[in-house]
């Protein structure tokens, strides 16, 4: 298996496609193709918001057997990501974590950690260190 499928995947979910894409660009600049990465942003009508179907697709695109760490901006992104994880269901849902971390810094830090082959738990912990507890 290539590094891209054995390293933890990163998913970025923003209300704004511009923010999601920009954060993903920053991740790519940091880690290249060594980490599975996908992003989504915008509601089903193309406005600001989030879309469960798009989140599901992003999780599929960034899927890794090592797990997936999701980074979100505001409340609806988190709640809709939770719905997407539930829709994926067991056993894969147990290997997906929605991180309590700032979306840009969290995604970049997590990707850097993931690119070295760290476990999902390690990747999530690194990102969540950025959040005040």
């Amino acid at each position: 298996m290539s590094a891209a499928t054995t390293n933890v995947g990163i998913v970025i979910v923003s209300h704004s496609p511009l923010i999601a894409r920009g954060a993903a660009d920053m991740v790519r600049q940091m880690v290249g193709d060594s980490v599975p990465l996908a992003w989504c942003g915008g509601n089903p009508a193309g406005g600001l918001g989030t879309d469960v179907a798009a989140i599901l697709q992003a999780i599929e695109d960034a899927w890794s057997d090592a797990g997936v760490a999701i980074f979100v901006d505001l409340g609806g992104a988190e709640t809709n990501s939770e719905m997407a994880v539930e829709a994926i269901g067991a056993p894969r849902a147990a290997r997906i974590v929605i991180c309590n971390a700032p979306i840009v810094e969290g995604a970049v830090m997590a990707a850097a950690e993931a690119s070295g082959g760290a476990s999902l738990e390690r990747v999530v912990a690194t990102a969540e260190e950025l959040s005040p507890s």
């Binding site: 509601n43 409340g75 709640t79």
Partner: protein
């Protein structure tokens, strides 16, 4: 196909197609007001988002009518989650999906208030909220208690409108409105408002009353 369901002391028959049409009409009627309420303390799209969800239900109503009630509710919840696009999607979607699951689990033992209570509890978990946080739970939780104690109310539309009104002096503790802190006080919660409109529309439809 119709399914019997007790929401008031009198057994009523749920006709899914007209029920969806009634909810859709109600949301379309009030979409601008919901957007304005959301502009004050959120991102201004609650009416638009709810309308998109209701339009999706309307488009699928023929199929939804052919299912048993429990399955209809689960599928309708799934449609709302996939189409609303805001935080309201998972909240209303969870309400309908869990209501459907609770009715299915009851397996014919018709206790709508008990099923509704389970569904409202699931919404509270989904939103990590409780009554008093200035959310749709400020309508759903008292409604759940009213259904459990009295099976309903003659003046349900007025009762739920008053519940939504009670969110005005509350300080938002969840969602984007919570970022405003004290400035969220003095505005009705848009989720509570849409909830009151929808409950009123459902109540009128189930009780054979048309129009606002």
């Amino acid at each position: 196909m119709s399914a019997a369901c007790q929401i008031t002391p009198m057994p009523v028959v749920v006709r899914i197609g007209p029920l969806i049409a009634a909810c859709h009409s109600e949301v379309v009627l009030h979409a601008d007001r919901l957007n304005r309420l959301d502009c004050a303390i959120g991102d201004g799209d609650h009416g638009t988002n709810m309308q998109r969800g209701c339009e999706a239900l309307l488009a699928e109503r023929r199929q939804l009518e052919t299912m048993p009630l429990a399955e209809t509710l689960v599928e309708a919840g799934r449609i709302l989650i996939m189409t609303i696009g805001g935080a309201a999607g998972p909240l209303y979607g969870t309400l309908l999906m869990e209501l459907g699951r609770a009715i299915a689990a009851a397996d014919g033992a018709e206790d709508f208030p008990a099923a509704f209570t389970l569904a409202v509890d699931a919404v509270a978990r989904r939103g990590k909220s409780r009554p008093g946080d200035k959310t749709l739970l400020d309508v759903l939780c008292p409604l759940s208690e009213l259904l459990a104690q009295a099976g309903g109310s003659e003046d349900m539309p007025d009762r739920v409108a008053a519940l939504a009104e009670m969110t005005v002096p509350m300080r938002a503790m969840r969602g984007r409105a919570s970022f405003l802190g004290e400035r969220s006080v003095g505005h009705m919660d848009p989720g509570a408002a849409s909830c009151a409109f929808l409950v009123a529309a459902v109540w009128r439809e189930l009780n054979g009353e048309r129009g606002a």
